[in-house]
């Protein structure tokens, strides 16, 4: 079997989710080729070549791929897919955007968001916001798969010595064009990569209090900030902070849920976290059913106390 993994990166560095996707590929077993499509991204290709388990890197370096459009990435993957038994990408806003195009053009089903590999043709994936797990077998010749990164460990970033080959990028479709991008500027780790996530809900009451209460705690723990849908809908936090079924899926070492009730759609995005702490004044809030440690109290008292107590900790 030969597996093609589509790398996610920002032209400067490989995103960590790519390493998790490579681990999923190695669970399937077979030769692993990584495609790096970008612009000025030779460094990313070198990093991909060093990942343990990768045997070949394909580098498509073209101005059109600086901000990759779904139509163009799909066309490139289609051009390279023949001869591969599996095509994998992370189930992020990047992978989810173009992979179904690849599947449709190959006339095969896509298996979305896998969390387990049972056999080279059989995969486990969550359905109904993770309230059920479906085990599905693909009867198609080529398996097109997106991978839930939090379900697989990261492949070691070194130890590999793959060859890097340049590939020609097909001419752009001209169907769509990049206009602009606004990335949240933050000194904090990104939600998907953070070891600790501090997440707030409607209990925070306002955007000012969301930041005023949560930021000192996040700073102390080196955490990313997350939010419930209710907090985002209320304008307390930007869209890209949303954790849940329809937001980002996270599984940090430590998830601290503050003033959020724990709707099933939110739990779907964080219940694989290793340790969950809930702080809420409503002792019946569903978040306490998944929390390892629950503290019933007024978050406006408790969170500053927690910051002070952590400051008093050694180290």
């Amino acid at each position: 079997m030969t597996i093609l993994v589509i790398a996610e990166h920002d032209n400067a560095a490989l995103r960590a989710v790519t390493l998790n996707t490579i681990t999923a590929a190695s669970r399937i077993g077979g030769d692993i080729t990584v495609l790096v499509a970008g612009h000025g991204c030779a460094g990313v290709a070198a990093a991909a070549a060093a990942v343990a388990g990768v045997s070949r890197v394909l580098l498509a370096d073209a101005p059109a791929f600086e901000h990759p459009l779904a139509e163009d990435v799909a066309a490139l993957v289609i051009a390279l897919a023949s001869g591969h038994s599996h095509v994998l990408a992370p189930a992020t806003s990047f992978g989810k955007n173009f992979m179904p195009r690849v599947a449709a053009l190959l006339d095969v089903a896509q298996v979305s968001d896998i969390v387990g590999v049972e056999a080279p043709d059989t995969f486990v994936r969550p359905i109904y916001a993770g309230n059920a797990l479906a085990t599905v077998r693909s009867i198609d010749a080529t398996k097109v798969i997106t991978v839930r990164a939090t379900a697989f460990d990261a492949a070691p970033a070194d130890g590999g010595s793959a060859t890097v080959d340049a590939v020609e990028a097909p001419a752009g479709s001209g169907l769509s064009a990049f206009v602009s991008q606004t990335l949240s500027k933050s000194e904090r780790p990104s939600l998907g990569d953070a070891r600790v996530v501090v997440s707030g809900g409607r209990g925070l009451g306002s955007a000012e209090q969301y930041r005023g209460v949560l930021e000192p705690l996040a700073d102390r723990l080196g955490a990313a900030l997350g939010a419930s849908r209710a907090a985002v809908d209320s304008g307390y936090a930007p869209n890209d902070h949303q954790v849940g079924q329809t937001g980002q899926i996270v599984a940090p070492e430590l998830y601290i849920a503050i003033g959020l009730s724990g709707a099933i759609q939110h739990l779907a995005g964080m219940k694989a976290s290793r340790v969950i702490v809930a702080i809420n004044k409503d002792s019946d809030a569903p978040i306490f059913q998944v929390a390892d440690y629950g503290l019933v109290g007024d978050l406006f008292d408790v969170v500053p106390q927690l910051v002070a107590a952590l400051d008093a900790e050694p180290g």
């Binding site: 449709a104 064009a177 930007p238 079924q245 059913q289 106390q305």
Partner: protein, 250 residues
């Protein structure tokens, strides 16, 4: 310009689903069904386009059992003009739905298709992108803002880490994210009016589409339950537990 909006009938998002005891799937008997919430946002967006004169007609389409008519009526109560049901009792997977919608789009010739970004039952997030590929159209997924001008759709997309704006030549396909709009509640007069709007029924056979599933469900199971934890009395106990028991403090 005509706008086509596919809508899916799913278990209502407030229902706590139950996995069937024999592992064959999820119990859908006697469970409240509703329109997929993202599709409701898609219908609302299309109706707003018509209301401000950017679209002339909103056609909704659903694929599945006869009861999908209720979903189509709900979409027409929001303001869609007419509906198409592709009726079948067969299991439909995203690729099959995309192929059915492709056939419908070829008959209807819309200038824009607006889909929900994912259905809350299978959480696949595939159908819109697949349909765009089959049509050979450009796509803009996860839209939080949509503007039409000069034969193009300018779309702000929600991506991990921020927002991206792209411009797509029409005809195009857009999938909706949560914050594109807030769908209106259908008024009683509009619900009554929707009952009289035209609803055409087709079949996969009539459209010449093979809907045979490519994925075989081996089993559906319940995820492992998280052990419920403990309540701590105060911040001091919480910090002690995090340090000594969970060992997550550095």
């Amino acid at each position: 310009m005509k706008v086509l909006v596919p809508v899916k009938r799913v278990i209502d998002y407030n229902v706590r689903i139950r996995v069937a005891a024999d592992g064959s799937g999820v119990d859908t008997a006697n469970v409240k069904m509703s329109m997929n919430p993202f599709d409701e946002i898609a219908v609302e967006e299309a109706v707003r386009l018509r209301e401000r004169g950017a679209a002339t007609e909103v056609v909704v389409v659903s694929c599945g059992v006869a009861a999908c008519q209720d979903t189509l009526r709900a979409a027409m109560a929001i303001g869609a003009d007419r509906a198409v049901l592709v009726a079948t009792d067969a299991e439909l997977q995203p690729l099959a739905v995309a192929r059915l919608l492709h056939a419908v789009a070829q008959r209807e010739q819309p200038g824009l298709v607006i889909c929900g970004k994912q259905a809350i039952d299978d959480d696949a997030s595939q159908t819109g992108q697949m349909l765009a590929a089959l049509l050979g159209w450009g796509q803009a997924t996860f839209a939080s803002k949509l503007e039409l001008s000069d034969g193009r759709a300018v779309v702000t997309r929600e991506i991990d880490g921020g927002l991206e704006t792209i411009s797509v030549a029409l005809p195009a396909l857009v999938t909706t994210d949560l914050r594109l709009n807030e769908p209106r509640y259908a008024s009683l007069p509009n619900i009554m009016k929707a009952k009289k709007k035209p609803l055409e029924t087709l079949t996969p056979e009539a459209l010449g589409v093979d809907v045979t599933p490519r994925l075989i469900t081996v089993r559906v199971s319940e995820p492992a339950k998280r052990q419920s934890g403990v309540k701590v009395a105060d911040v001091a106990e919480l910090v002690r537990k995090l340090r000594d028991e969970a060992k997550v403090l550095r």
